[in-house]
């Protein structure tokens, strides 16, 4: 199944879920089990909607490249505040989608002017945790 092709009007709930799982596998191997697993006994419908709608219906649209979606998402999660768990997931996504550590760090520096230093600092500390886990520290400043 081509995760990015099908937007026909007859796509079913099942098919959107399958497409969302496909997209999630491409951006992060363990994510779908983590999301669906943690919600299984409390809100499986929320898990379904994250997968089928968030990934199967929105994220999979070809109108914006995954790398570009991640730039938008980093901006939103930093601005919202209190989204450290989601930021951790999406900084991993961002690396998987082709953003470099330097670009991620720069996006968070850039956020200081729009959201202020506290949001920028908190997001950068999440990036530091992710980069440490993936052996990407220290981040070399741009030439």
């Amino acid at each position: 199944m081509d995760a990015r092709a099908d937007k026909s009007e007859s796509t079913t709930r099942d098919e959107r879920f399958a497409r969302g799982l496909d997209v999630m596998s491409q951006v992060d191997g363990g994510l779908r089990e983590q999301v669906l697993g943690s919600l299984a006994d409390i809100s499986p419908e929320l898990g379904h909607q994250v997968v089928a709608w968030g990934f199967g219906e929105i994220y999979s649209r070809p109108e914006l490249a995954p790398r570009d979606r991640q730039l938008v998402t980093l901006g939103m999660l930093t601005a919202l505040g209190g989204c450290e768990p989601q930021l951790e997931v999406h900084i991993n996504f961002s690396l998987n989608a082709g953003l470099t550590p330097q670009e991620i760090v720069e996006a968070l520096l850039h956020s200081a002017g729009y959201c202020g230093f506290p949001r920028a600092l908190n997001a950068t500390m999440v990036a530091k945790k992710v980069f440490a886990e993936r052996g990407l520290l220290p981040v070399e400043p741009g030439a």
Copy 2:
């Protein structure tokens, strides 16, 4: 003393505090000690105002049922973000006020469309913690 009856113009600060304590006891046995205790050595006036104003003056008004107040409150705390401690208290309140686990879970699913998935997911994880402590997992999906 009838916690819901007295709104006469001559209610004193003492009487409002007593009414607030009454209301708090009805929604959560241990809450008043927890709130007042944690604030006793730093801001007893904030503790007083949570009890006397928040509960004695606002929450106790009969114009909206406690169950309905909790639906509004779940929406606000989810939307605000960063209110996990208060959400934990109010998910307990919500159960005590008669909302079912299914209704609470559905309210948080509903929030995804207005606040986005990160807020909905964070609030749902708080509900999972509360439900686990009260032996309410797994939550059975609606029929």
Copy 3:
């Protein structure tokens, strides 16, 4: 078509859109034209998703009554701030779903303790506009 019955796994994108339109018609006669019309030349997909996902997939679920969804929604929109256009739509929905003007006003008074007076005041001014348009002023205080 029963707007609240169908959650089978084979529901298509078309069917969800139709169900969403049905639900919207029940809560507000002119809303679907307004949403779809204003987005037609800029983001018809966003219009589709508001209808098919927001209403067809989430709002239509029977796990929470429409009146109760509106209480949650009033709380969220008040807390988020800057959502006056959506609050106007949803205060109309709330009346249509069976909330009384007194209950709506009380929900917004209740919000003061969680979001502060500025959010409560701004939301109350939106309610005043909607109530004026529908001939519901003055709102009689509770007995």
Copy 4:
């Protein structure tokens, strides 16, 4: 009546309201009529609570000078966003409480580092409106 003296436990709802009106008169001549008037036919209880609780119970406490309360308030209203009407009221209060136009402008410049430029710019435009109405433009930069 001394607006700042009475915190005895027997203060009634009536007395707190009267004290709040006193405090409001001191910070802004027309404000009490404006707040109470605009809420009279929709939520007189919200008007009562702004006066009796916000001003009569909190603002009137001597533990922090009115000028200092205004500095905290300018910070909060700027950070919250979407509170332009309240910011307009409180920039007037701030002038009345003894803050100079230079100090107000500097507080809003200071906010850029914590909330970002958009919030700082929006708040500064509100200050510009208030200062223009009071003939305080241009604001002379510090020496």
Copy 5:
């Protein structure tokens, strides 16, 4: 002067301001006059800092392309809410920096899942205004 080259430790306040003006001219011809003009009589220092720090020190860094900065910025301004004036400026920037109307609309659709529909709708209405002024409506959906 090359707006993107100079980060030497001896750059002066004057030079950063000049660099910021250069960068602003590249993204939007009339912006610098608009920002500096509107702040001239109230907070010229805020105007200076938007130019010299926001553009001269941060935006001009080569570590992230202007187009990519705009994706992050669209995400932040949408998430923050209440930033319609800044969103209008930055949707213009985004077009000037090479984002297509389709990409901008898609970024705002994408935001629905993270910030909710109200923020996505409000931002899309700002885009509609900007696109209308620039003769870019209707936006053709992706193939």
Copy 6:
């Protein structure tokens, strides 16, 4: 070097950084090492900007006294939510800048009316942690 004197147009990046370090030393002995150290391997430029811009360019301006800047900052960090790490730093600053524990506690009580009780409670719990570390508990209520 006088940290508060130099705003000449020829101040260099190096000099602003040095001035920022000076200001930080005055408000908190260990802070500069903490900020610069935690960012050294991930985003030294963010560390530079906190010091050189946040402190060297903004905080050091004489137009508002450090004590007054702290009142604005306490308001902003409380209102933003999710800024507990920064609030901890700034409650320490506030004490160092001359605010008394009573004034800090009162500023946070005051915030309840503008941001709601959850933000006020979370900020007060941070203050309790800082005051405990500095041996300032219990805080004596005002006379």
